[in-house]
Amino acid sequence: MMIPAWILDIFAAIMLAVAALSASRLAIGRLRPDTDIDAAHTLMGVAMAGSLVGSLHTLPNAVWVVVFAVVTAWFAWRVAAEARAQGAAVLGTGHHLPHLVHSGAMVYMFAAMTTAAHGSGLGMGGAAAGSASMGTLKVPTLGFVFILFMAAWAVWDLDQIGSAHLHRRGVARLPQVKVAPRPAVALAAAGPGAGAVSGSGQAPAPTTAGAWGASQAPAGYPGSEAAGRLLDPRVAVGCRIAMGISMAFMLVIML
């Protein structure tokens, strides 16, 4: 017996929810420091849902390999920029490191699925029959390292979610960005202290958790209260936790 299809359906639904949330943040948030993270979550959610449930299949696996290779390169550049700006210590707690690892894991998984497709002649994107159609990891040790990282970062995120430290981590360590033409909207969407980051590179003073919530949303902005809640950094962290656990699940059933 393979893994029951309904379990795969549940994980696919979670991934679609992550993709929808991230796409919504992209749509309402304009250009923010973590726009790239929301874009990556959207892509990953769609790709993983398609690999878990055949009917949700979108692009060929080889295309996903290329897409996530580009995403990996992007986050590698972002991590390197963080390390240059704030020292190597940021590698342990940096804002973009988990996304670099997540992207690398996506490349690894889809490469394994592509290989399996060539070997078996099966179509891809159809995991409903179980892990056999998803292929087997050629280097299980690397897969295990990814799984350990996903589990460790998920519990770290859960520990930090809602704390002031998360807020500092999410805002203070963001690299400089040029905000959209509507400065009031973009600055509020980027969170309190973002202006200080952009302007001086100094970390903002610690503020209360969830400061990107409704009270900070710009007045007059359409749907400002809902938008403020959606742009709360804890939403992105929640998406990352769900993404990490789902990736660990996929890697495990491919071991």
Binding site: A154, V155, L158, Q160, A248, V252
Partner: protein
């Protein structure tokens, strides 16, 4: 890495102490790091429980195998549980996996940690009986190398030792190591002595001290593992070939030294803890193949990793009362 010292509020006024604590609160202390490690392992276990094999009869047969050699009062419930899982593999295994994922997430969240740790103790005791046959301690099959006294009982032990409460409210006399914060140093050292002392005993049981006992145990792990891990197994098996008695005695002596180590002065206690961590990791890699996770079919990382986490919880910290100046700098 676990902090080398336990910083104390010292003689600060209550108001200043709470303000400083609030500034420092978000970053985990040594005990919180270990709790997060335990949470990550539970989460890993839960995800591993979703493997395809766990939804087959092979899983229930694996559980039934732990009944062999145990007294009827222990074996009969194991067999009953195994039949239940055989009849309802999807429902039971999905429940098991979900529970373990939730335990991991619950321990990771500061709001639910106490509930999750309490639940993990109950769950661990159940799995230790129904899933591990009490770790083989009653059927003569227990060995430090194969996972005695049962990996899952170490989860329960860690849940107790890492419980987020402190027995002593005396800032001037803090616990000498993390594991002593709830139960006190005397009880914590007694637990350590029983744990590592029992491992020393198991290393000398009949099955482990035969000429080829440990060799066969390690050599048998290589099948299905990645090349590098199989090579480690073959190398270790080569060292143990026809050296079972000698290896058992050496292992038992090391474990006995570790067991006594926490009663020694701090430098020697630290050496014993380092030895415990190293030995646990060597056993985990060479003797347990990381819980056979890489070969497929592993449900947890086995006892080696957990023993290392337990040992870290006994790292003797250098206690230094925190001065107001130091608090200001830290904040």
């Amino acid at each position: 890495m676990v902090s080398d010292s336990v910083a104390l509020p010292g003689r600060l006024p209550a108001g200043a102490r709470s303000t400083a604590a609030a500034k420092l609160a978000p970053f985990p202390d040594a005990r919180r790091w270990l709790q997060l490690g335990l949470a990550a392992i539970w989460l890993l276990d839960g995800v591993l429980q979703f493997q395809s094999m766990m939804f087959t009869r092979a899983f229930s047969q694996m559980l039934a195998g732990t009944a062999a050699g145990n007294p009827a009062v222990i074996a009969d419930p194991i067999n009953w549980a195994s039949r239940l899982i055989t009849d309802h593999p999807v429902a039971t295994n999905t429940t098991f996996a979900t529970i373990q994922v939730l335990l991991g997430l619950g321990i990771a969240s500061r709001r639910t940690i106490k509930v999750a740790l309490a639940a993990s103790i109950a769950w661990s005791l159940g799995v230790w009986w129904f899933g591990e046959g009490l770790g083989g301690i009653l059927n003569g099959g227990a060995s430090p190398v194969n996972g005695a006294p049962g990996a899952v009982i170490l989860y329960a032990l860690l849940a107790v030792l890492l419980w987020p409460a402190d027995a002593s409210r005396d800032d001037a006399r803090p616990a000498p190591f993390v594991a002593a914060r709830l139960v006190g140093p005397t009880a914590a050292r007694a637990i350590w002595l029983v744990l590592w002392g029992s491992l020393a005993y198991f290393a000398l049981t009949t099955g482990n001290r035969t000429a080829q006992g440990l060799h066969d145990m390690v050599a048998g792990m290589a099948s299905g593992e990645p090349g590098w891990l199989a090579a480690v197994n073959r190398g270790a098996a080569g060292l143990l070939n026809h050296q079972g008695l000698t290896a058992s005695i050496v292992l038992a002596v090391l474990l006995a030294v570790i067991a006594a180590g926490v009663f020694l002065p701090r430098p020697l206690a630290r050496a014993a803890v380092i030895l415990a961590v190293v030995l646990a990791l060597v056993i985990w890699v060479a003797g347990q193949d990381l819980g056979t996770i890489l070969g497929g079919g592993g449900t947890d990382p086995n006892s080696g990793l957990l023993l290392a986490v337990v040992a870290i919880a006994y790292w003797p910290a250098a206690v230094r009362p925190r001065t107001p100046e130091a608090q200001g700098e830290a904040a």
